[in-house]
Symmetry: C2
Subunit: 262 residues, 2 copies
């Protein structure tokens, strides 16, 4: 069992980053994109980035240790803040720890029910765009959604614009265009979000990164959620209101996204 010293700032203060990567038959989907995002996060947090070869070796070892080199698995890479003394000030030098685990990944859901969280995304903070070890707001929002009988939480920013789900990005069709919240709504800069934007353009969609109220999403002509393990899941309802099902063009896009990611 991997352990970390109790003095690691990943534990004491939530300093650090993680990536969740889909592995299919041992192949790591969107590997370079995940490591690129991890490196961008390191720059934002003033952490040295991990060595890419060490990351690949750790991911491989985690898959082997878990007996998951075949089938569908989730690899989590964690890059901690490293040991520090009491208090907020960063140690110098900073020596992060690399951790990797692998778990079985369930097949994607066909659709999801969303519940709007009382917790807003803090767009003023770089953390709102990163996968950091300070992820408790996401945990609380998800728990609130589950308690409300939903599958996942939808979060808005303080201006009331739709931002993202607790563990997914969101896309929907409005006026025949594909909309997704702009990153400055406090949106996680999702690896699959980026892939989805590119594929949508290739499919001939007009794509807009928007600041949109919940009413825009409720009136949509179909929408879906994306993350690394569930690349395209239709949204069935939001706060008890059913959403239009995705039409043929959107279903094509979602299918292409699923096959590209996995």
């Amino acid at each position: 069992m991997q352990t970390v010293p109790a003095s690691d700032r990943g534990l004491t203060l939530g300093v650090g980053l993680f990536e969740t990567i889909l592995a299919v038959e041992g192949r790591l989907a969107l590997w370079e994109a995940h490591l690129d995002r991890l490196a961008r996060g390191c720059a934002a947090l003033s952490l040295p980035p991990p060595d890419r070869t060490a990351c690949a070796e750790a991911a491989r070892a985690a898959l082997e240790a878990a007996g998951l080199v075949t089938g569908r698995a989730a690899v989590r890479l964690t890059w901690t803040g490293g040991d520090g003394a009491r208090g907020l000030a960063a140690p110098s030098p900073t020596r992060p720890r690399l951790l990797a685990t692998a778990s079985p990944a369930a097949p994607p859901l066909a659709s999801m029910v969303l519940h709007t969280s009382a917790i807003r995304r803090n767009a003023s903070s770089p953390l709102s765009r990163l996968k950091t070890l300070s992820y408790l707001d996401n945990v609380l929002a998800r728990a609130e959604a589950i308690a409300a009988g939903a599958d996942e939480a939808l979060l808005c920013d303080h201006a009331g614009s739709v931002a993202c789900a607790a563990a997914a990005n969101i896309f929907w069709i409005a006026h025949g265009e594909l909309h997704t919240p702009a990153l400055d709504c406090g949106v996680l800069d999702g690896v699959v979000r980026d892939v989805a934007l590119h594929i949508a353009l290739r499919h001939g969609f007009t794509v807009r990164e928007v600041h949109a109220p919940i009413s825009s999403l409720l009136a949509c002509d179909g929408g879906f959620l994306t993350n690394s393990l569930q690349p395209a899941v239709a949204i069935r309802s939001l706060d008890g209101t059913g959403l239009s099902a995705p039409g043929p063009a959107l279903l094509d896009l979602m299918a292409d996204l699923r096959s590209t990611v996995s």
Copy 2:
């Protein structure tokens, strides 16, 4: 060296709480108030609260192990989210881990220079009022302040109201009254903040919990910061503008606060 399993949700997701407690000659200041706040935090995060006797024994053992049963020390209690599988969903049952460390505590500063952070307090989140293991916003705000040549960061909420510092609450005199931000500005519910409010009333101050812009603080007739290790530190300047020094009545209050806490 204490270690925790890498699967503890304190590390993976920042689920958990901590308390920083001043120890003077082995005596733990405001002990019951700290454990009361920890229990309130557990309720907010759906964690079982720690056993108070176990906390006292862990604090004592940490002081002894660090050779700090005499003098001035900081005891940190950490109550983690416990082991969990991959993903946001909480394990059932949840079995938090209790950790305790002791460090030498430097004598309080005479005064501090503040720098307003670009990061806002997320008043919509219960985390803004708790000392959780998702503390990275505070770490980033402090680093930003240090880089700007200041000692500590001042944070506002999304409405532009003064909230608190990265690791302290704030009080100031306006129109002859003692002002401190209301908790719903995303203010840490500080143990010493609460003590300061009570002592101020005893000193005959009119006390107001306010939603106040930075201009109110800049125009104050003296202000100070509070936390468990530095119960009353005068604010020298904010964003390069000098603040009025505390007058005699405020200095009396600050001295009483220091002697009450330590």
